[in-house]
């Protein structure tokens, strides 16, 4: 009881009221001070950034344009600024590069938040060609045809890789982004192992620009693997993820003359008013071919004449997990993006023994039912630069974009951080051929670029992509017959298309 009484005495109601009053007073004073500080600093994060930036500008006499990109670009900020100034950008303008996530989906979500909040910074955004269109249809990036000279717009449309330009346009063809650099997958292979199987430099020279048939490819890889007792023949990416739907599966089915939505003019819409063609025979055959690669002739759903060359692990592999066995020397051939050419073609890896060829084909383009399908295809990757419609420093940002379209900038970036020039003609240049490692393979990259096929990006692509990768992986894993999987997929795609 004594203890209870003491406790009551120590926190009396009177003391409580006094404490609350004192705390409230202190908090109020602190709040006012803080509020004053905020008022001076601008309204929120954007305002604060702008104010600070402006004062910096005044002090240094420079205008800084924020550019949301990746850590690689941020690490090379000085080189990028130097290349921009060399390309004619006003010396008073500098690009301040924000290092975004290396994971493309995370960057997309970050941009969605920024642009939905109508932020005025960053002024420029580096956007994946695979998800620029959803931002365009939501009016979250500026129409560059209203901002840049028409001569510049025409130059981009006429002289850049067409597939890249297509992923930066709206339905009417207006350009909302300028391709910064494209990315095209190729097949990398070990020439030293192929030589053991009897192939020669003249074969490699031919393969560099003339795509092989998948059947010939699988047999050549199997021969090299068997002749050299290499662990695996061919590795690629077939995990349940965006990379399967946008790229690997897209390449297989297109190389067989199939398509997700008929002719390639339907790739970007109109949603709900385009044919869904995933259940057609070329698409099913492409899956059956890959099942043969993975499960061999025992698979009743496989295609005859195709060698078993891939480990089952590919069903769980993405880019890096599939590249490592190749780099470790356990694989004859590997499908991947150009970044891995730089790794595998380095002197401490395979050096000149690394061969590169375009993706093989299933049917020739002339045999394909759909425009844009058949022949050697490469899934389109790469990044665009887009303008924030609320950009704080729009005129300076537009000057940066203009400088980025200069050939000198594009060639310097190719040599500095491996950004492939978005103009096919630049890949024929001596400067491009002289770039260390990847410069040896510009011919192959040009062929891939000229036959690039974009993913069918629309506002509903994220949902469609999920369903495509699930069904394709289920078919390859032998969980479903290819025809059944594609039939289910068609149903799901129809439901998604009709939901908008």
């Amino acid at each position: 009881m004594a203890q209870k009484s003491g406790a009551t005495d120590s926190v009396s109601r009177r003391r409580f009221v006094k404490t609350v009053g004192a705390t409230g007073t202190v908090a109020g004073i602190a709040g006012c001070s803080s509020g004053g500080g905020n008022d001076g600093g601008g309204n929120g994060e954007d305002g604060g950034t702008t104010t600070t930036s402006s004062s910096d500008d005044t002090a240094s006499g420079k205008t800084q344009v924020q550019f949301a990109a990746d850590s690689r670009a941020a690490d090379n900020q000085d080189a990028i600024n130097a290349a921009l100034h060399e390309a004619g950008l006003d010396e008073n303008i500098e690009v301040d590069i924000l290092a975004g996530s290396q994971v493309t989906d995370n960057r997309q979500q970050q941009y969605t938040q920024w642009l939905s909040a109508n932020r005025n910074q960053p002024s420029l955004l580096m956007m994946d060609s695979g998800w620029t269109i959803p931002f365009i249809v939501r009016d979250q990036v500026a129409n560059l045809e209203e901002e840049l000279p028409s001569s510049l717009i025409s130059e981009v449309k006429d002289n850049y890789f067409g597939a890249s330009v297509a992923t930066a346009q709206d339905q009417s063809g207006a350009l909302h982004g300028i391709p910064l650099f494209p990315d095209f997958p190729t097949i990398q292979y070990r020439k030293d192992l192929m030589r053991e199987a009897g192939y020669t430099d003249s074969d490699f020279e031919k393969w560099a620009t003339e795509s092989m048939h998948w059947k010939d490819f699988s047999n050549a890889v199997a021969e090299a693997r068997d002749a050299t007792s290499t662990k695996h023949g061919f590795t690629f990416q077939a995990d349940v993820y965006e990379g399967l739907s946008c790229c690997d599966f897209n390449e297989w089915l297109t190389s067989w003359g199939g398509a997700y939505f008929g002719d390639h003019e339907n790739l970007f819409g109109p949603i709900g008013d385009r044919p869904i063609t995933v259940d057609e025979q070329p698409v099913v055959d492409s899956l059956r071919m890959v099942r043969s690669f993975i499960h061999g002739s025992d698979d009743p759903e496989g295609l005859d004449g195709y060698a078993q060359i891939a480990p089952e692990s590919v069903l769980q592999w993405t880019e890096e997990t599939s590249r490592k066995p190749f780099t470790n020397g356990d694989v004859v051939a590997h499908r991947n993006w150009p970044y891995s050419i730089n790794i595998n073609g380095a002197e401490d890896a395979f050096g000149e023994d690394l061969g590169v060829m375009p993706i093989p084909y299933g049917v020739q383009a002339s045999e394909s039912k759909y425009e844009g399908a058949g022949g050697p295809v490469a899934a389109l990757g790469g990044w665009h630069v887009t303008l924030n419609p609320n950009a704080a420093k729009k005129s300076a940002a537009l000057k940066v974009i203009e400088a980025m379209t200069k050939e000198s900038f594009q060639l310097t970036m190719f040599g500095t951080i491996g950004w492939i020039p978005p103009r096919p003609t630049l890949l024929d240049s001596e400067e491009a051929a002289n770039v260390d490692v990847i410069g040896r393979y510009v011919k192959q990259l040009k062929v891939a670029g000229e036959n690039a096929v974009p993913r069918p990006v629309t506002a509903v692509w994220p949902q469609e992509s999920t369903k495509i990768s699930q069904e394709a992986n289920a078919a390859l894993s032998q969980d479903k017959a290819p025809a059944d999987a594609m039939s289910s997929l068609k149903e799901a795609l129809a439901s998604i298309e009709s939901s908008v």
Binding site: R13, R14, F16, V17, G21, D105, Q108, Q109, T112, S116, P134, V137, R138, D139, Q140, D239, V240, Y241, P311, E312, S313, L315, Q316, W317, T321, K324, P325, A459, V460, P462, Q463, T466, K467, S469, Q470, N473, S477, A492, S495, I496, S499, V500
Partner: protein
């Protein structure tokens, strides 16, 4: 009266009338009124940081998704999002179905889950994960707590060893299990395939992945259960065991009649916390496998949200909260039975 006298005696002569009135008003409150007064700031803060976002989310769940155009959210559609989710009409827009395929027939238990959808629908995946992981975490955590409650040499190091998994960040833990089951990298894939336990690509197989994710969660979270249960064990009056020994009670009888009844409320509280956490599982799934392979309810919320389907995401979030509330109600009901309140 005593209070009034004290107020008059202590009233500061020079203070403003407002302060005096405030002090007098507070001192004249009844105990209950004073308790409510003390709760006011908490209620206000909760109102701002919890209830307002909750109501805002609910309002969002009554609106259509807006995939095209500048507006992030569409028009008012009432409970359509909820109906579509529960009837399967929204399945195409989801990574995996919200509900499993159900069929009714004359055979017990009359309601049947369609083959293949048990481990591929969010509701069943979440419930299976919760029931299995909480069960094993409670058993293992209890065992660990009983060991830690003993006095033995090196007890400090054993405690550290048991707690370490709880301290490992979920991303690192996820990467450990991801690499363990990655063909060509992890050493567990081949032996487990050879004994027929797993497939050659376990991280794209729903059943295999579910087992791996549950094991990863048990590995990490048993320590949490052990710590809470240990706190309960250490509050048991030791003299009760001395009395039991004198009365000739065996170890099992001591456990059954003394230890377990006393710490049961503590175990229920620990299970309640873990159940709420397990029903919101996301991080360990995304880092070890993927939301496509092990689709929990939180997975559906995150994926639909990132696809800008805000109305659908809000509706799933609310249904998840409702399910959690139902399960929590069961615990609280049981907790009351055990005299915990």
């Amino acid at each position: 009266m005593a209070t009034d006298t004290q107020l008059r005696d202590d009233a500061p002569g020079g203070k403003s009338g407002i302060t005096v009135h405030a002090v007098r008003w507070v001192e004249n409150l009844s105990e209950t009124q004073f308790a409510y007064l003390l709760l006011v700031p908490t209620v206000l803060i909760l109102g701002v940081i919890a209830f307002w976002p909750l109501l805002s989310t609910f309002e969002m769940s009554l609106r259509a998704d807006a995939l095209i155009g500048a507006k992030p959210i569409g028009e008012y559609v009432g409970i359509k999002n909820y109906v579509d989710l529960l009837t399967g009409k929204r399945n195409a827009a989801l990574t995996r179905p919200f509900m499993p395929g159900l069929s009714v027939d004359g055979q017990f238990p009359f309601l049947h889950v369609a083959g293949g959808t048990l481990f591929k629908s969010a509701i069943t995946v979440t419930l299976i994960f919760t029931i299995v992981s909480v069960f094993f975490e409670t058993i293992i955590g209890f065992g660990q707590a009983l060991v830690l409650d003993q006095d033995f040499r090196g007890r400090r190091w054993v405690r550290v060893a048991i707690i370490i998994p709880w301290a490992v960040p979920v991303v690192i833990q996820g990467m450990i299990f991801f690499l363990l089951f990655q063909p060509g990298i992890g050493f567990l894939v081949e032996p487990l395939q050879q004994i027929g336990l797993f497939s050659s690509t376990p991280l794209i197989n729903s059943v295999d992945s579910m087992i791996i994710v549950i094991v990863a969660d048990i590995w990490k979270t048993s320590a949490f259960m052990a710590l809470i249960i240990l706190a309960g064990l250490q509050s048991v009056d030791r003299s009760l065991y001395d009395v039991a020994k004198v009365a000739g009670a065996s170890k099992w009888q001591q456990f059954k009649l003394i230890t377990f009844p006393i710490i049961l409320p503590t175990i229920l509280v620990a299970m309640l916390f873990r159940t709420i956490g397990a029903m919101r599982v996301f991080g360990i799934i995304e880092t070890v496998s993927s939301c496509s392979t092990v689709p929990s309810l939180s997975c559906l919320v995150v994926t639909t949200f990132s696809q800008r389907r805000y109305g659908t995401a809000a509706a799933i979030a609310f249904l998840t909260a409702l399910l959690i509330a139902i399960v929590v109600s069961v615990y609280i009901w049981k907790f009351n039975d055990e005299g915990g309140v």
